[in-house]
């Protein structure tokens, strides 16, 4: 056999469209079309392969449609499959030519070989041309009654495809009823599974317009039907099991006995090696027990070990997906995982997205007994070469401190960070010390002593600089040179690019002025003048506001700008609990991995301009195996 042509070539979309090659192919195909010579199938295979490889890399080869159809009169099944693939791809843009294929597809639908029947039926239903649906109804009807389960499997999906091409044809031919019959009576579990998914899609689509469909959809969640599926669950393939489990989640059991029965029946699914089955089962357990607090707790305990096993076995893709789910559970019930904190220690070579999740989990599970060890571990990461993770770790230490366990030791650690003399460590630590002081003002003495030693020239990041300036303003009475530092910062007003820093600087100078007026007066004048001349609207407005306040009454101004403060007890959460519950409802889906509910990334209006490009717009959300795109790391 000659080596395939595509190995010598490196196809790339950026290459010219290969017009001459296509014409070449066309004439070659034409020559072969009528040939009966021995070995002609082999040469056809080579040509077909070329056509399909062009198709794959995006060259338009629809112009050889006629020739492909002419060549398809063959008994070679490999050739047939390639031809079907080609036809399925171009039929939609060439409805007239697609008509040419109807004949041979219909003939193949009556072939002796069930394989050919199935293949032809699949291709026929994949043509996706509205004018041709009339040719589809007959073969589909025959296919649904076929003796061979493969043909039936294909036919059921065919009905669904028909529904998407033409709703009325599908309903008029009474296909839903046939599917329902198969759903309840077919011996082959894959046929049953396909019926289930087809009917779910069809009735979901119809429910808005037809009361019958609504009733039918509810009937899928009836007790006898759910039990019928559950009792046969082990006969289903692993993917069909996920489908069944997904349906069971929506079922509302009548009493707690029923809940326990279902959970006992499904218990061994948690030992399945397929992560999709385990997660689907976990979802059933979690949702069934939502109203039973203590049992819900036990469910967490029960699903913990299988999920941890899934994280550590298998590919990085699986680990990450399962870890995201664990993350969700940890965030909901950190106390359940408090003894397992060592599982969330980061490993040196883990990718940063895994480390990030783990850091958040470590933060969440920290309690009185583990805080010390966890913080020690986190401090190790802070010295890490991986800078983003080092930053995250410092933030994590700060968050633990704000959770108010054993603050004493943590404050020392944070202050050590400030002495590490690495820019990014200092920057992160400054932001944290600021937050810490807002919550625990009693630590101000220790902190200020260290913060005072930091030269403002070494702090460049806007957030850190703003934090430092805030502290200078807030604690100016304790820092002897605060007014002078602020003054020198004011002198460099024009070099400060971040509006946030300039805003903080204005406020800090004001605060300092109220505490130490004679030393600050000069700086205040300079700051207000610079602020009024600032091109940034907020800075300008604030400077003007302060100016007028001071003009009006200095004591009032002090009450406004520097009132006595109460310590912050709880910092506002970044995600509302409503959003979190939505994500939990969508357990076992991409929502968990993205950490946002599905409407935020499927509905256009919720997506930010840069968040996702349009490709996700029409994606339906189901199980987590829903992602269409994959990259092969080739070498």
């Amino acid at each position: 056999m000659a080596p395939p042509a595509q190995t010598n070539r490196s196809p790339s979309p950026s290459q010219p469209s290969g017009k001459s090659e296509v014409t070449d192919l066309k004439s070659q195909l034409r020559q072969l079309a009528g040939s009966r010579l021995p070995g002609v199938d082999d040469s056809k295979r080579e040509l077909f392969k070329k056509v399909i490889s062009y198709m794959t890399i995006g060259i338009d080869v629809s112009s050889v449609f006629g020739e492909m159809v002419m060549c398809s009169a063959t008994s070679d099944i490999v050739l047939k499959k390639m031809c079907y693939l080609y036809v399925g791809n171009y039929a939609k843009v060439n409805p007239d030519l697609a008509l040419l294929t109807i004949n041979f597809l219909q003939r193949d639908c009556k072939d002796e070989d069930p394989m050919i029947r199935g293949l032809a039926l699949r291709s026929l239903s994949s043509l996706n041309v509205a004018n041709l649906v009339e040719y589809l109804v007959g073969p589909l009807n025959a296919g649904l009654k076929d003796n061979n389960s493969y043909v039936r499997i294909v036919a059921v999906i065919g009905v669904l495809k028909l529904y998407h091409i033409s709703v009325t044809t599908c309903i008029d031919a009474d296909f839903p009823a046939v599917l329902k019959h198969l759903l309840l009576n077919d011996q082959d579990t894959q046929v049953v599974a396909n019926c289930l998914l087809a009917l779910q899609e069809i009735w979901n689509g119809e429910a808005s317009t037809s009361g019958d469909a609504m009733k039918e959809r509810e009937a899928l969640l009836s007790k006898p039907f759910i039990y019928y599926l559950l009792n046969r669950i082990k006969e289903f393939s692993e993917w069909a099991q996920c489908l069944v489990l997904d349906l069971v989640v929506k079922y509302v059991p009548a009493d707690s006995n029923e809940i326990f029965d279902i959970m006992n029946l499904l218990e061994d699914r948690l030992q399945h090696a397929n992560g999709a089955v385990v997660l689907a089962t976990a979802k059933v357990f979690l949702h069934l027990t939502l109203s039973m607090t203590d049992v819900h707790q036990q469910v967490y305990e029960r699903i913990k070990a299988p999920l941890l096993t899934l994280v550590s076995s298998g590919s990085p893709e699986q680990s990450y997906a399962v870890l995201s789910h664990l993350h969700l559970l940890v965030m909901r019930a950190p106390y359940v995982f408090s003894a397992d904190y060592k599982h969330f220690y980061c490993q040196y070579n883990e990718p940063s997205y895994v480390k990030k999740l783990k850091l958040e989990m470590l933060t969440a599970v920290a309690n009185e007994s583990s805080t010390y060890e966890i913080v020690t571990e986190l401090c190790e990461y802070a010295a890490n070469v991986d800078i983003p993770i080092a930053r995250e770790s410092i933030r994590a230490v700060g968050k633990i401190a704000l959770q108010q366990y054993d603050v004493n030791a943590i404050v020392d650690r944070l202050l050590q960070f400030l002495e590490m003399e690495k820019d990014y460590v200092t920057a992160e630590a400054l932001v944290l010390v600021k937050d810490l002081l807002r919550k625990y003002p009693q630590w101000s003495h220790d902190c200020i002593a260290v913060v005072g030693n930091i030269s403002s020239q070494n702090v460049q990041e806007p957030k850190a600089k703003a934090a430092l300036i805030w502290m200078l303003g807030e604690y100016s009475q304790d820092m002897s040179d605060a007014p002078y530092i602020l003054e020198s910062l004011t002198e460099n007003w024009d070099e400060e690019h971040s509006a946030e820093v300039r805003l903080h600087l204005l406020t800090a100078v004001m605060k300092c002025f109220f505490k130490r007026p004679p030393e600050t007066q000069k700086a205040l004048g300079a700051a207000l003048a610079a602020g009024l001349a600032d091109f940034h609207q907020d800075v300008h407005d604030r400077a003007l506001f302060y100016y007028r306040l001071l003009q009006h009454n200095v004591t009032v101004a002090e009450r406004v700008v520097n009132p006595p403060k109460q310590a912050v007890s709880v910092f506002a959460d970044t995600q509302s609990s409503e959003v979190k519950d939505r994500i939990f409802d969508e357990f076992n889906s991409l929502s968990v991995v993205y950490q946002k509910p599905s409407y935020m990334f499927t509905d256009k209006e919720h997506r930010g301009p840069f968040e996702f490009s349009d490709e996700l717009g029409s994606l339906a959300i189901g199980t987590e195996s829903d992602v269409p795109a994959h990259v092969v790391e080739a070498k």
């Binding site: 080596p3 998914l197 090696a273 298998g314 893709e317 997205y353 195996s625 092969v632």
Partner: protein
Amino acid sequence: MISQFFVLSQRGDNIVFRDYRGEVQKGSAEIFFRKVKFWKEDGEEEAPPLSLMWMVIARVIKDYLGVLNEDSLRKNFVLVYELLDEVIDFGYVQTTSTELLKSYVFNEPLVVDAARLQPLSPAAIFMQGTKRMPGTAVTKSVVANEPGGRKREEIFVDIIEKISVTFSSSGYILTSEIDGTIQMKSYLSGNPEIKLALNEDLSIGRGDYRSSFGSGAVILDDCNFHESVRLDNFDLDRTLTLVPPDGEFPVMNYRMTQEFKPPFRINTLIEEAGALKAEVILKVSAEFPSSVTANTIIVQMPLPKYTTRVNFELEPGALGQTTDFKEANRRLEWALKKTVGGSEHTLRAKLTFSQELHGNITKEAGPVSMTFTIPMYNASRLQVKYLQIAKKSSTYNPYRWVAMWRTSTRLFSRSFLCAQVPFPDQNSTIHPTIPTFPKPELPPDSELLNALKSLLHRSPSFHLVLMSRLLQNPEKPEGPKQLDLPEPALPTLAHEHNSAFLSPPSPLNQSSSS
């Protein structure tokens, strides 16, 4: 639901592209590619992986193609399309069982790398890459046949363990975990039932492990099993019964945090010697039995970023050791080809810095990490005691025996251990660890040939290659004695510590399981 499935090359062009539902706009592949390629502008973070489906499909494709890489995908894209058509219909997964797919898929795989193993006759050079041949055991396609048309009956069982240990500076173990899997790859025809016996003292769940520790029992934290595994007798005698489907699959995954003895210990010392100099001393001691050999040991340590020069000093007479200072990422690398149990190796490295040290040098360097493989050693002591293959047929027919005896069965176990040791700094105690699995990919052909010549001292994937070469050897005697073959075939022999052995099924077992 899956709307589209595509595989892109590193440059972003489609290798395989299949649109299932026709509801996604054009250009999705390109958008995806850009998202991955330019995930974060600074390039500091990688894009997280998004899909579980890919790994499943990748497994199926690998079963068919033997080797999964860009080359084999490009060569076999028609077969891949055929598979994709059967695996997913209209966005719904139909089946991912290699076994079931076999009857629907007709393209024959063009095996890539395997062909290069053929004796290099002049003809073979021209046939390279396109010739269909069975290749090696692990990289063999499930559908490829022997040149003679006869299928080789074999089944591979691997116990692969990934060990993560973290030592404190004082050598105390902070965390230790074993993630293991019993991997099976079956090429048996007729789908006979297989019985796999594990340690009898195996227990699952951490409930009472404090009390039973020390008794030598193997206690797993948790495990899961492949769909085909039946656990009817598991509680009774720790046997798994299964009818192995074709292709590669994990029989069982397990996780263990029980204490175990790590095979290596690393001691690190770092001394400042003047303002611009420091000395690092690394000592690796192998704490496993002297009958076992560890291969391809690599010790790595990040150095302070202003390190300009490193002078290495190996112990006198050191063989098969290389040292390197990777200037680009300031990393010290020390590779040892092999080391026998009980031995010790030391490396001294003198560092020169371009600027004066300030602060603590231990904060700037480390942690030390180490990767290696040890064939025929598993730290968890989990074992496959025996493996029985029962042909589904009457035992009264003596010819059946021959057929059964000729089944060549192989057991492997190997461990990968990775450990990290932080510097002897009192505050730095806990360190993360590195698990790495060498990719089960074949190395380039020149290397393979060398491996064939020098047989033994290579990584486990080489052993698999070698084994299958031995299996192809026609001079092997036939009959019952064949079951003893695994031993000579294994370069590093099984010993008590890891008594992965085979027991020939007795006639009684045969009749009972038929």
